[in-house]
C-alpha cells in the first residue's frame, strides 16, 4: 500500500531554493516603498523535493492510464498521447491570443476546420469554440435561447423544460439565465412523457433541454415528436451533448430537431479530464441562431487560390449574446480534439460510437441478472442499474462502489440519475477490451454475492486504498480549506 504524503507546507525549510532566475541586466529601478509586500508566506523547497512531492501525490490517484474508469456520463476513454504532443508544439503553445492574425493563420486555420468538423458531425449551420466546458456551453446555449426570443419580441417566454433525468447543470443553467425551470417526468420506457410535455407547452415556453441518449443511457425514442411539439409551441430544442459518444456518425442531433447543442471535447473527443478540467464546450446551432453566437468566430476572409491558402480572420455575429470568456476558447484542448478527429475520419468516428455501444450492451448483458435494470432495453453508450437489493437491507450503491476499488476499478457514477434508486451509472467507453469488461463484470457479480453472504466486506470497503472512507460531515462542519496561512492560524 502506498503511504500518504505530507503537505508541501510541512516540508518547507527557510532558505531552500528551487528554480533560480538570472540577475537583472538592466539599470536598477527602486521599488515603490509604500506598496511593497512585506511577507510572502509560500513554501521553500528544492526542485527534487517538489518533484518527489507531486510524483508521490500522483501515485495516490486512479486514472484511465492505470485502470478501468467506467464513470457514467463522463466518457473516461483513453487519452491518446499524440494529443499531448500536438498541443505542445511550439507553434501552438507559444502564441499570444492577441498577436496579429496574420501571424497566427495556423491557429485560425485549425479553429476554422474544427468549427466545420463539429458542424458536420452535429448537423449544424454554425459553431462557436468559445465555451470553456460543458456547463459553460450550456450557459451559452440558454443565453442564445433568451436572446432569440427577446429579439423576436417574445419576452413572455420565460420557461425552460427539463426531463427529470437531466444533469443537474441543466436546471442550474436555466435558473442562472433567469428562466423558470419545470421538470417533465419520464414514461415507463424511460422516454420523455409526451402528455406531460404537451401540458407545459404554451406561449411562455422558451425551450426544452434534452440529453440524448438520456442519462439512463437510453436513446430518446420520441425525440422527433418531442422536437415537433416544442417547435410548434414556439420553443427551441437544446441538446446536452454530454452523451455524444453514442452518436458520432450514428445520427446528427441537428437532424433530430435539436436547435442548439454543446459538445464536450473532454468526453467525446478524447481530451484529458485533467482531474477536473480543462474541458471545452463548443456550441453548435441551426441556421436561424447563427447570428446570436458568441464572438469571435473564425471565418474565411479571402478564399485564396491556386497555391495561395485562404486567409482567416475573426468575426463577431450580428446579434451576438456577447463574449463568454476572454480570448478564443480553450485552444490547447481544441488542438487535441482536432488531432483526434483527424485520426478517425468519418469511418473511425462511427466506429467509436459503435464500439462504445457494443461495450455497454455487452457489460449490461453480463451483469443484468445480478443487478436490477430499471428499464430493460438496448442501451446506448452507458447503462444504469440499481445498486441495491430489496431483500438485503443496508447495502447501498456506495458500498458497491467502494468495494470495486479493492478490485482496482474506479466505481461508476453513483446516485445519479436521481430517478433511479441507488443508481450505478456505468459507461465503459469503446477503448476497453473485452477482457477488462469480463473482469469488471466478474467483480460486480462477486460483490452481488458478497452482499448476501458477507455484507460487512462491502461496508468496510475499500480495503486496499491508501486511506479509508473519509468523514465528509466533519469536513463540512469543521472547515479546514487551506494550510500555512499565517493570518488564519490554521496549522
Amino acid at each position: 500500500m502506498i503511504n500518504l504524503e505530507p503537505l508541501i507546507y510541512d516540508k518547507t525549510s527557510p532558505g531552500r531554493r528551487g528554480v533560480r532566475f538570472p540577475e537583472s541586466a538592466v539599470p536598477h529601478t527602486d521599488l515603490p516603498a509604500d506598496l511593497v509586500r512585506q511577507d510572502l508566506p509560500l513554501p521553500e523547497l528544492s526542485e527534487l523535493d517538489v518533484v518527489r512531492h507531486f510524483t508521490k501525490l500522483s501515485q495516490l490517484n486512479h486514472g484511465v492510464d492505470i485502470g478501468f474508469y467506467p464513470l457514467g456520463s463522463c466518457t473516461m476513454k483513453y487519452n491518446p498521447k499524440i494529443n499531448e504532443e500536438t498541443a505542445r508544439l511550439a507553434g501552438f503553445a507559444g502564441i499570444h491570443p492577441l498577436q496579429p492574425v496574420e501571424t497566427a493563420q495556423g491557429a485560425l486555420h485549425l479553429m476554422y476546420l474544427m468549427q466545420e468538423f463539429l458542424k458536420e458531425i452535429g448537423g449544424f449551420a454554425g459553431v462557436t469554440l468559445q465555451p470553456a466546458a460543458g456547463a459553460h456551453g450550456e450557459l451559452t446555449g440558454v443565453l442564445i435561447i433568451k436572446k432569440y426570443h427577446d429579439f423576436n419580441g417574445d419576452t413572455q417566454r420565460n420557461k425552460i423544460l427539463v426531463p427529470d433525468s437531466a444533469h443537474g447543470t441543466n436546471p442550474a443553467t436555466s435558473a442562472m439565465s433567469g428562466f423558470k425551470v419545470v421538470q417533465i417526468k419520464s414514461d415507463e420506457r424511460g422516454n420523455v412523457d409526451l402528455e406531460a410535455l404537451k401540458a407545459e407547452c404554451d406561449d411562455t415556453l422558451a425551450g426544452f433541454m434534452l440529453t440524448n441518449p438520456n442519462t439512463l443511457g437510453l436513446f430518446e425514442e420520441n425525440v422527433c415528436e418531442v422536437s415537433e411539439i416544442v417547435h410548434q409551441a414556439g420553443g427551441l430544442m437544446y441538446g446536452d451533448g454530454a452523451n455524444m459518444n453514442a452518436l458520432l456518425g450514428i445520427s446528427k442531433p441537428g437532424d433530430l430537431g435539436v436547435d442548439i447543442l454543446h459538445y464536450n471535447l473532454h468526453k467525446t473527443f478524447s481530451t484529458p479530464h485533467g482531474g477536473g478540467g480543462p474541458g471545452s464546450g463548443p456550441v453548435g446551432v441551426v441556421e436561424k441562431l447563427v447570428d446570436f453566437l458568441p464572438g469571435p468566430l473564425v471565418a474565411v476572409q479571402d478564399q485564396g487560390g491556386e497555391d495561395v491558402p485562404p486567409y482567416y480572420n475573426f468575426v463577431t455575429p450580428e446579434h451576438t449574446i456577447g463574449r463568454m470568456k476572454a480570448f478564443h476558447g480553450q485552444f490547447g484542448v481544441i488542438v487535441r480534439a482536432f488531432t483526434y478527429i483527424m485520426m478517425h475520419g468519418a469511418q473511425g468516428l462511427r466506429e467509436v460510437s459503435e464500439y462504445a455501444v457494443l461495450n455497454a450492451n455487452y457489460l449490461m448483458a453480463l451483469v443484468k441478472d445480478a443487478y436490477r435494470l430499471p428499464y430493460d432495453r438496448v442501451c446506448m453508450h452507458e447503462f444504469v442499474v440499481e445498486g441495491r437489493w430489496p431483500e438485503i437491507e443496508g447495502v447501498h450503491a456506495l458500498d458497491i462502489s467502494k468495494r470495486l476499488m479493492d478490485f482496482g476499478f474506479h466505481p461508476p457514477t453513483n446516485y445519479f440519475p436521481l430517478i433511479v434508486r441507488e443508481a450505478l451509472m456505468i459507461e465503459p467507453t469503446e477503448t476497453e477490451t473485452k477482457e477488462t469488461l469480463d473482469e469488471f463484470a466478474k467483480a460486480l457479480l462477486q460483490i452481488a454475492e458478497e452482499a448476501k453472504s458477507n455484507p460487512d466486506v462491502l461496508h468496510q470497503a475499500p480495503h486496499v486504498t491508501p486511506i479509508g472512507r473519509l468523514d465528509e460531515v466533519k469536513a463540512a462542519r469543521n472547515l479546514v480549506l487551506c494550510c500555512g496561512v499565517p493570518w488564519l492560524d490554521n496549522d
Binding site: F21, S24, V26, N61, A107, I121, L358, F416, L479
Partner: protein, 447 residues
C-alpha cells in the same frame, strides 16, 4: 484508432448480447436519420497526424520567432521544465473530478495546496478549486456579490480599468435581467477616487483591477473603506504574480479576489486553457462558486481530503444553485501549484522583480524617444502605456515589418486612445530585445 476489438471479440460480444450485428443496437434511432455520411477528412495515422499538425503549427509566428511585447491579460513567462513533467503524469491528467476520495487523494491534496497558495498570494481566506479563466471568474465575482447581498442591490460599479474582455463577459452573464453596471465610461486618466460618487446603498459590488488593464498600480485601501461604508462588496481582479512583489489585494481589504492565473506556469497557448482564480473571505465561503476541497480524516484518524460544501453546487441544488459550474480547470490549477512550489517564496519574488526592472527600463528608454511619452506617472508592474506620435495600429504594422510584435493597440477598445500603445515586458524580454524595440520604435516613428 483506439478501440481494441478483434473480429472474434465482436462476434462473441454480440452473441452474449443476443444481437446479430452492431447495427441492430441502433434500431431505436429513426431509420431515415440513422448512419448519415459524414464529410470529414480521411483517416490519418499517428505519424501522418503529427506531420499535419506540425505543418499547421508552423503557420504561426511564436514568441521565439518574433520578440513580443504583448500582454493585455496573457503574459509570456518562463515555465520550469518540472512543471510539465508533473502535468504529464497520467495519474493526474487522465483522472477526473475527485468524486471518490479514497482513490483521488493526489488530486485532492494538490487542490488543497493550490487553495493554500492562492490564499497566501492574494491575502484572502478561502479559495475555490479554480475557475475557467480570469474573465469568467470576474463575472462569477459580480454574481457572487449580488448573492451575498441577497439580490437586494441592483447595480455594480466597474472601473474602466478592468480588462475590456472581462467587462464584456460580465455583461453577457448579467445583462439578461434588471442589473445595472456603472462606471465603465469614467475618465480613463482618473484614479479610483472617480468611482466614489457612484458607490451608494444600491451598489452590490465594486470591481477594480490590480494592476489595472493599463498596468497602473493603485493603493485601494481608501476605496475599500468607501465600499464597506456603503455596505457593498469590493472585488479586485488581480494579477497573482504582481502580488508576489506588491501588497496583496487582501491587504487593501478586498472581499473577493478574482483573476487570471496564467502567469503562474501556464503557456500562452493562444488564450487557453488558462486558470480562473476566485478567492474570498471566510464569512462568504458559502457563496463562492465552484468546487472546494477540505481536510478531514478517515475512520482510523488518517488525514485526508474531500470535496466539501457541495450543497452549494448544481448537482445537489439544481435550479437553486448560484452557479452552474462543475468542471473547473483542474490541470491548470495543478500547473500553478507546481510552479509556485518550485519557485517558492524567493523565486516568485525574484521573477516578479525581474518583470518590474525590465518593464521600468523599457518604459524609461521608450519615453526618451522623441514623440513618445508615458501616458501616466502612476506606479506600474510589468505593463505600461505610451502615447505615440502616430496611431498605435500603424506603429505595430511597421514594427511587424521589422520582426517585432509590438504592444497592444488601445484604440481597439477605447475610443480616443488610438495613439496609445500598451507595452508588456516580462523576464523573457531580455535587455537586448528591449533595446531592439527601442531602436526600431525610434526608426519607424522617424520615417
Amino acid at each position: 484508432m483506439f478501440h481494441p476489438h478483434t473480429d472474434s471479440d465482436r462476434e462473441a460480444m454480440l452473441k452474449t448480447i443476443g444481437a446479430g450485428s452492431i447495427e441492430e443496437l441502433f434500431e431505436a434511432i429513426p431509420e431515415d436519420l440513422r448512419f448519415p455520411e459524414l464529410d470529414l477528412p480521411p483517416i490519418h495515422t499517428e505519424m501522418e497526424a503529427r506531420e499535419l499538425l506540425q505543418d499547421i503549427s508552423e503557420g504561426n509566428e511564436t514568441q521565439r520567432d518574433l520578440p513580443m511585447f504583448l500582454g493585455a491579460g496573457a503574459y509570456n513567462h518562463y515555465i520550469p521544465a518540472a512543471v510539465d513533467f508533473i502535468l504529464r503524469r497520467g495519474e493526474f491528467y487522465t483522472a477526473y473530478t475527485p468524486y471518490q476520495p479514497e482513490i483521488s487523494q493526489g488530486t485532492l491534496q494538490a487542490i488543497f495546496e493550490y487553495q493554500s497558495h492562492v490564499i497566501n498570494l492574494t491575502g484572502m481566506e478561502v479559495s475555490n478549486a479554480s475557475h475557467y479563466d480570469g474573465a469568467t471568474a470576474a463575472a462569477e465575482a459580480i454574481n457572487m456579490g449580488r448573492v451575498i447581498l441577497r439580490g437586494k442591490r441592483s447595480k455594480a460599479v466597474v472601473s474602466p480599468g478592468v480588462h475590456p474582455q472581462y467587462r464584456e463577459t460580465i455583461h453577457t452573464y448579467v445583462d439578461n435581467d434588471s442589473f445595472d453596471i456603472q462606471g465603465e465610461d469614467l475618465d480613463l486618466t482618473a484614479g479610483p477616487e472617480a468611482l466614489y460618487p457612484l458607490i451608494d446603498e444600491n451598489t452590490a459590488v465594486v470591481m477594480v483591477q490590480y494592476p489595472d488593464f493599463f498596468g497602473r498600480v493603485y493603493d485601494y485601501t481608501e476605496l475599500a473603506e468607501k465600499v464597506h461604508q456603503a455596505g457593498a462588496i469590493l472585488a479586485i481582479v488581480a494579477n497573482p504574480l504582481a502580488s508576489a512583489l506588491l501588497k496583496s489585494p487582501g491587504e487593501f481589504g478586498a472581499d473577493i479576489v478574482c483573476g487570471e492565473g496564467q502567469p503562474l506556469g501556464i503557456p500562452l497557448s493562444y488564450g487557453g486553457p488558462y486558470l480562473g482564480i476566485l478567492a474570498t473571505r471566510e464569512k462568504y465561503v458559502r457563496h463562492i462558486a465552484g468546487r472546494i476541497v477540505g481536510e478531514t480524516q478517515d475512520e482510523e484518524g488518517k488525514r485526508g481530503y474531500v470535496l466539501t460544501l457541495s450543497t452549494r453546487e448544481q448537482h445537489i441544488r439544481r435550479e437553486k444553485a448560484s452557479s452552474n459550474i462543475c468542471t473547473n480547470q483542474g490541470l491548470m490549477a495543478l500547473a500553478a501549484t507546481v510552479h509556485i512550489s518550485l519557485l517558492g517564496k524567493e523565486g516568485l519574488r525574484e521573477v516578479a522583480n525581474l518583470n518590474y526592472q525590465h518593464a521600468h527600463y523599457a518604459a524609461k528608454q521608450i519615453s526618451e524617444i522623441p514623440g513618445f511619452e508615458a501616458w501616466s506617472d502612476q506606479t506600474f508592474f510589468n505593463e505600461f502605456v505610451v502615447k505615440c506620435p502616430m496611431p498605435a495600429g500603424k506603429l505595430n504594422d511597421l514594427l511587424l515589418e521589422e520582426g517585432i510584435v509590438g504592444g497592444y493597440d488601445l484604440g481597439k477598445d477605447y475610443p480616443g486612445m488610438q495613439d496609445h500603445l500598451m507595452v508588456a515586458v516580462t523576464e523573457m524580454n531580455s535587455k537586448s530585445q528591449i533595446d531592439f524595440l527601442v531602436e526600431k520604435l525610434a526608426e519607424v516613428s522617424r520615417d
